[in-house]
Symmetry: D3
Subunit: 320 residues, 6 copies
């Protein structure tokens, strides 16, 4: 069943979310501090048994210069720099195994798939720790360090996402002027952040993105991960203002309003995990060129393989 | 939690299943009737946007000469016949979209992915109807036509699976002497049937196979699809003997005892859908060369991507 | 809890459903084709152990002249033609056993209970196969053949329902001028179809009918069977228009607008399976004389035995 | 899935339940006290709209002389006394409406359907209050007054069940020498009690009976109503001995060992509510002539309508 | 997720509930009848092992003069009368063990915790029976005796609650001029009743109260206990008016409109058991001085320990 | 229902768990390293509104000298050192609010309730962060840092638990020669660790302890937290040996075999979270004086308030 507003109301919906005064300053400071600890990505070939696609194990400088893992996949025998797709992973998973996720390389792109620090367990494995103190939290990642923007988990993960693009551009296999960012759910939320905080991206693709419109998302669904915030506030009843203040620095709605990158989004009208109004909250606020695909009969799987096919056409047009 | 016997008992377990006297005659007759209606596969290239892998839409002669759809995927630019992997799909799904399932072609094989007649809807799409009368049944496929071996749905689907190998061998892209069959769950059950009913296969790979040891499978789990049989018998209380007689013609345990094809199987100790004893029932009865991988902490997903990696090594050794 | 609109809004609600231009032509053609294959019903007495009610096994000509089973029950020792109640069965079930459903015969009517082709398993048994090709579908019956009106399962079942009245009128035990149709849920949907497509019925009784207002029904509940359509469209994302076009030929709303038969309907305000707005969609569109009973505190069981009591009074008045 | 022991172990299983020393004295005293307050049943015809079956509203003297309601149904126009079926109702329900449950009257028997005091709400209505003080209890009936045999709810209900036979025999429509008792689940438990505490019954029919083998039943299922005992003991941790002592006076195992009435029982191997070992506990202990039907693929619905058909044959043989 | 209206609509919401004409007369009569059977509370010291708090087992005269149990807890070594907190228990539980619920005594108050007749089992034990006839009902307490105000269970329990204040005032440890009533859920509903029916209470504290706004509560949630009413009406379809008439005598909305006691309430916006609009229904109708705390991210646990802290401050101010 | 072995088998059950060779060396090194960073506890009075119990906010030196929070509660007006109860918290919760958990102080003991680093959110709040890098993990705490004993979360938490006793002994309110440790579930597991790693404790009380017999616990229940290990291994299929090696350093079975502290344990026969065999695994291996209470009809709540009453008696005897 439809889980949210009718489609015509979705298209008019505006989130109550606003950016804190120091939003831009916060992110400028955050990125500068991490860029100061930059190192060139390390790239090691991996033996996979695949013959049409080559895979490399990449280590790049993320938040605070911490080492972040990624896979680089390129078509076998490709010479010269390729347009690149930087991909972010959904909640709970990691970069997975070297032989997974062959679509983008099979389509002729350099595909850099970033690991999610500390996650990498529930549905695909990861190899990157999350290095920081963890204040009391609900199991999961959405309330880790939520008592301040500086300590919040997503400050680190979003910085990783922005720096993954820098890392991609530093690879010899990549044509740095032709880079896209892409992801679904949490990966979509990270793509929106990167789209706003990076420059000169050709396109951002965000399927059914998570991390958007927290004030509404947390009160219209019982599904995790948004519900983690509710679980936290159910005992930390005195932290409401503090928690929503923290979240405002990481809300896709606020990134959207600052983004110049063309975007392709999707929303699913039966999505209980990332309800469509929260996706439209970001889409309707989006400052750059934008298109959205609505999947009326899907839940959080959204367009699935059909979205991939759609994106292949988008990339052909915008990435070359 | 473990859903079945301890591993040492699994390795000793023998199914009570026995083959009906006319089992071999039934299948010889069934295959002959369909082979009489054989036609050469039709192969049409598909535009996908992928550059490293070429995809073809294949139509081949299945049960009763009915048209069965499949995808053929080969590495782009390959010349000369390739070793081939014929893949069968899990319950409910179909061959999916052309751009799905790139692993085997990316590893250098011709990959023929057979559609499942009449299914192709719950998790991936299909394009092949199931042409026959349907007597009263539980929603699903495991009780369709179950009142006799001749009318049972899996007679048609298993015949398709056997003939898919014939179709693969008739393709110009395929080296017919180097063919493997592969599948998980229902696909694994079909691979066991093809391994017994086809000749000269290099290897059959059956992950957590379904369609094995019906007498036990139906009474030790409440999970569908095995539970469909129970749902049917819960109202058709007078059909018990008739139903189990039908199922005996399609039980992987009976195919296993007749198979000369080397097999690689897997079982998962926390699998509620295809409990591990039902898998070991087929493995322990298997007449050909055999190995099994046990995944102690997995449910029906079994080895997932790690099984694929393992199979790449198996194929390197046995398919070339 | 109430699952739908408040009652005052229900009474004003109008479905967005519209009939395709060739709706009437489609049904005229469909019925004519089947009537061309008509044969006189075959009636065989059944030994049941009951003494007050006699039961007969009836076989009549349904869609395409296919053989459809039914039970005929009459009061023991009745002479001369009786007014008749033709009953249709809810989703998943069949005509059941000869000794079930004694109410209408015990009340003095000839009771013809039609089997549902291919169903007859989940809660009561049936004996009638569904003879046709089945394209890829969700387990169940609501997406069987859904890619076109001609191949859709309900074309066959609704035609059976219309012809069951013809069969009843051809029975020596029946006074053909005094016939009612009756059913709950799917049976109610069939009653609405028969009410529109048959002539000279005394009354149609449709308890909490299914198969009404598909555009709304499919998006306001997660309960099957309506949800089968959503499950289908969740993978067949490119079939949306095609599917809803097919459904428009079988929507109770469109039958209602054409019906001259007096109708007695019921709706339940806590019904999640056939939400009350979908029932009112048909009721509010109904062209004939009409009454509706609202059960505020019931789910899909609706009025249960209390509806039967109510209907006994209706029959006394309208059937005699 | 099978919920209990394999069938061969079921057939050998002996319950640990034992009867308290004063079991017989307790019941003799209980029945005598109530019989002292006996009054002749009051019988009032009911207008139902049925023509083949006549229904009467009966009020008879139950426990402590309290007024218990029942329906009497007989074939219309029957003259002279009929053999009778006294039926008890499953947990939560009541005698229902006058037009329900027509099978036994339609088969030519006088059918007395006893109301269950205080229940009569969850799935069928009742009209009889339970008159007594209620000590702290879990919602439901299985812990009402459980702190002593004298105050336990089932002392009153079982006494009603025994006296319902006396009432039946006092009806002019009944041939008191040909009486059967029958019920499913709780009704089956009551039938076992009546079979032991009444005299000269022709047969007792107990489908998947409840109220048997409490020591085992309460610890091998999480399903209510048996679980009510566990819920009670989960807080009343100091009442364990007291509770099981009370239950021993009402356990079908203890009634079975004292019964001279021929019995027909059934058990279902997938029954989670009345697990089959608890049924076999009573059956294996049964002192009278006995037969049991095992339904291997059913849950608590047991044989359903097929049991009714089977019972019609039993009645034909034993009741005439 | 929010389970009800937005907060601004909650603050304006008015229940459709109205009081029957004889509401005041009914309660005056009810209380008078019971007060006529009053006896002085019996108080027996209990050995608990606690040293800072003394506990007494209290028996006082409740409805109809029946004996109701309670615990009295006071700070050890207190001399002279103390302000008192009379507490009522949530649905299903009883007064619990002597060593539970130490907060109010540890804060210096005499704490009288009343047992709930007949409940006292599901989550804490009780020791008080409910003495009366029980007509057919849904398992639980909300439909016990619901066919008339006189026989309804809550007539007895609410009378107990009112008389518990009288009992407290009769204790030597209590300063009868300084008494508060307090409870959560059912306990909150009882506190609202006592606040209206008692005189000179300093404050009533009702956390997420139950028993408010039955016309709405029963149709906007599927959670028990409100759903018990729906379960009852789902079979007793002809009792709707009768049931809601009974409930109107016990609705917190009607008590609120008559209350002169200052009240402190709370509501939780994610409460499915006592949806916040039903709480605001009572709050908005409340005639006395009033404040409400809204917990936006909590379910029926409401403010939990944080409510207790808040109440300590309230008591310091209003009880001294 | 019983979730595990029959009680007589429980009493004989021996875990397959063994201690790694360097178990004692590992813990000696771990504790020494942290003791080197010891600081005297800081104690700050808290204003609570309670008058009979005084509460202090305590900060003490935990693992690596990190600051761990605790509450100290003592009877108001107590003079001179008191025997002390050091309490550990169940999984997910924290030390809660100052006014919670009054039992032990009300009984005359100094009660030090230790916060659980990084938890303190799901059911009670906490105030202590967990300071360390977190490798990929399942949401929760049982797989945090599980790739080695040195990085495992429970190395830090168990060290905190041992040092909490040192902290208690350093408080002026405490008689260091009379200290007990106590906890339920995770708190019970921590109590077993402290009982083995601390000296001269009077008694350890471990209710239904968690963290025992990992080899069995992880495969006989699907309930979290044990299931977190399974979830982790379901994707990290190559980490099995490594994970169980890590867990062996923290298994209550291994602590039990080394403990000289008298212990009082409890187990619940219907516990799905900490199945009773895993509790008996520790109890049966326990080297010190020991007693166990078995709660046959309880789940993980075990003896609840009745355990507290039982423990009051134990403390009276062993703590004074």
């Amino acid at each position: 069943m439809f889980t949210d507003l009718p489609e015509d109301e979705l298209r008019r919906y505006r989130s109550p979310q606003t950016a804190p005064d120091d939003f831009d300053e916060f992110w400028a400071r955050t990125l500068t501090e991490s860029q100061d600890r930059w190192f060139a990505p390390r790239v090691v070939p991996v033996e996979t048994g695949l013959t049409a696609i080559e895979v490399f194990d990449v280590t790049f400088a993320g938040f605070g210069g911490q080492e972040i893992k990624a896979w680089l996949r390129v078509p076998a025998g490709s010479t010269g720099p390729l347009p690149a797709v930087v991909e972010y992973i959904g909640y709970g998973g990691g970069r997975g195994r070297a032989i997974e996720s062959l679509t983008w390389a099979a389509a002729g792109y350099a595909h850099l798939q970033m690991d999610s620090r500390g996650q990498g367990s529930t549905w695909s494995v990861g190899d990157t720790p999350d290095d920081s103190a963890s204040s009391p939290q609900i199991p999961g990642f959405l309330t880790r360090g939520i008592s301040s923007p500086d300590s919040f988990y997503y400050r680190r993960l979003m910085t990783d996402a922005v720096l993954a693009v820098d890392a991609a551009r530093a690879l010899e296999q990549v044509d740095g002027s032709r880079v896209a960012v892409l992801g679904g759910s949490q990966g979509g939320g990270l793509a929106l952040a990167a789209a706003a905080l990076q420059t000169d991206l050709r396109v951002a693709v965000a399927y059914v993105p998570f991390l958007c419109d927290f004030p509404r998302a947390t009160v219209i669904t019982n599904a995790n991960p948004y519900h983690e915030v509710v679980s936290y506030l159910a005992t930390h009843r005195d932290h409401v203002d503090l928690v929503y203040r923290t979240l405002s620095y990481f809300d896709g709605v606020n990134f959207a309003a600052r983004s110049k990158t063309p975007v392709r989004m999707s929303a699913a009208l039966m999505d209980e995990i990332c309800p469509p109004s929260t996706v439209f909250a970001a889409f309707n606020a989006y400052a750059g060129e934008k298109e959205i695909t609505v999947w009326p009969y899907n839940g959080h799987e959204g367009g699935g393989i059909d979205s991939a096919a759609e994106t292949l056409a988008v990339f052909k047009e915008l990435l070359g």
